[in-house]
Symmetry: C2
Subunit: 341 residues, 2 copies
DNA sequence: TCCGGATTTGAAATCGCTTTGGATTGGCAA
DNA sequence: TTGCCAATCCAAAGCGATTTCAAATCCGGA
């Protein structure tokens, strides 16, 4: 069933049917209803390719996943994004690449073949080459996270610096002085921000920073374990951890136990929680204190923002910084006596 | 830069340029090279919508994610799939829906608007309504998992029954008699298969099955915890667990510790591992015995199989059942004395 | 009754590609 | 020289929508 058939079926021209279906004003209300009814009855839907060709809009957004950088948070984000875009009948097109170069050539391809109207970037670096290239290509984009060293761009980010700062300050308030920061990969914007927040908190209390208490790792259970284990083996081990992710936290938790400590008593921890339905900080034992921000909600909002951008809002005006809430639970307790320097 | 411009730039017809670029034989090798070179130099890429309209092929596969059913394994699968499809320049189109009805209407839309050439189904039920509908729609599909009660369909599945059976038998060999099975949601094909395998193993050893040692839950850390905790509170608690997923296993592990037991000594566990890069059974403490099968590899293979199907291989011939390897580590040990009935 | 503007409808061009159905050329055997 | 077959290339017809430009119809006011 295509437009032509539908039109002849109704005894109308393709023009009128198309207009009726797309809500143009210059069509009689009764014919509009007649058309809509026939379309529904016959199961007509416009051919997506034809429409795209005619309108010049792809009706799809792209997202390129770098194999080494995606994880459980990716699908949460995607889920939120898709949820928002579903009603507008906009598709999400995902591809995966191995390297940064492949990612860029994926954008080039997408732009040249007009497969997508916009792309969503994630895992930004302070000076991110993708921005310049996408600007050159004229392919609209929005960044989940932000890239401070780069020219103006649309972004949505959470307040990583503030989150790390609050978490660290809280641990300081509890008397901890040797607080480890198990951060994400070195060089990524969000990791920098978290380190800034961490440093700022220590500095504000006059606590000197021990470089060996800062680690940069992938957000995996395993790396969390190894990192914490190494720290426990050194002199002056930490009495508290600020963990970059729940995965990391699980690993650190294991290391804490392996070292014979009890979480929430001997050693404290606050982890950042992206809010996964299958990993609940509230039901762990002990329950986990977190800084939390729903990555799914971020996906939904990013969808909204891109739509705004495509309907004219300047990218330079699209900056959204989400506050991060801190939820204190059992994994944080007073520093054990004698460890406070 | 479109085909017309490129052609006039080269002093050739669109026909010839198109053929040269698409590898048709009736074009002189020297002109083919000339065309390819010019296309590369000018950055020409065929407009995807136009090509799709002309060829009738969408160049994309669809995957609908049900919000309640996706999780960390989803993105792994997607990653593997995308990797295979990248080279063939086939896009993956993901959408999320809330309910089974929405999922079906998503297929209807996709079929009517010809957005995708095929779809990938996941989380099948023994008698899955999607199959009949997709057959009616004439939209090719392949199932990750399978649907035994349904008509012939293309699928790739892992040997869940065999995996559960081997895991259970191994625990029996170690002397365990009260073995709990913490399975996936009731009614799903894979969960049925696992229960079959579990029952078969018990039956083959003449061990009577205790219904309260079988649980059906979502694959979350939390549910694993709660389920195991409940089991420990009842009389005759299990001395071993067969866990449906690594997430579940983490929760069960916590419950084991909370109950004052030691994993691998007082209580054993074998978990099913979909192989996540960020959750490594080999580096847990204690290391986790698993039945494992890479879900990423399954994604890659499913991509391959769909391509075969679209190039003519009958769906009814596409059945692939992957064996599951069992990896024994420290979480499984002999049943403690006195528990063996 | 007739006119002018608003309201509805339609014919045809357009989007950028693929592909059908010829044309044109060159080489070689008759 | 002629004829025929390959090897190349091209003009034009789709693909199925949207959209421009124009025509038809309806209506109230003069």
């Amino acid at each position: 069933m295509n437009l032509k058939e539908l039109a002849s079926n109704l005894g109308l021209s393709q023009t009128t049917v198309s207009r009726a279906l797309n809500g143009y004003p210059e069509v009689n209300e009764t014919t509009r209803i007649r058309v809509a009814e026939a379309a529904a009855r016959l199961g007509y839907r416009a051919n997506a390719s034809a429409r795209r060709l005619a309108t010049g809009r792809a009706g799809a957004f792209g997202m390129v996943l770098r194999t080494e950088a995606y994880g459980p948070h990716t699908v949460e984000f995607l889920g939120g994004l898709a949820e928002r875009l579903f009603h507008d009948e906009i598709d999400i097109l995902v591809s995966t690449v191995e390297s940064a170069e492949d990612e860029i050539s994926a954008y080039r391809r997408a732009a040249a073949s007009k497969k997508v109207d916009a792309v969503i970037l994630s895992s930004p670096y302070p000076s991110d080459p993708r921005i310049g290239i996408l600007n050159d290509l004229g392919l609209p984009y929005i960044m989940h996270g932000r890239s401070e060293g780069s020219p103006a761009h649309a972004w949505l980010d959470i307040d990583n610096s503030g989150a790390a700062r609050r978490a660290t300050e809280h641990l300081l308030d509890l008397g901890h002085r040797r607080i480890a920061m198990v951060n994400g990969p070195k060089g990524m914007t969000f990791a920098n921000h978290r380190e800034e927040g961490y440093r700022a908190a220590l500095a504000s209390r006059g606590v000197t920073l021990s470089p060996h208490l800062i680690a940069n790792t992938m957000f995996t259970d395993e790396m969390g374990y190894r990192t914490a284990q190494l720290m426990f083996e050194r002199p002056n081990p930490p009495t508290a951890f600020v963990a970059g992710s729940m995965m990391t936290a699980l690993g650190i938790f294991r290391a804490i136990r392996s070292a014979g400590f009890e979480l929430g008593k001997d050693v404290s921890m606050i982890a950042h929680d992206d809010v996964f339905p299958y990993l609940n900080a509230d039901t762990m034992v002990p329950t986990m204190s977190t800084t939390r921000s729903s990555i799914r909600a971020a996906g939904t909002r990013v969808g909204e923002l891109i739509l705004q951008m495509l309907s004219g809002k300047p990218a330079a005006d699209i900056h959204e910084l989400w506050p991060v809430e801190m939820v204190l639970r059992e994994s944080t307790g007073r520093a054990p006596a004698g460890t406070q320097l």
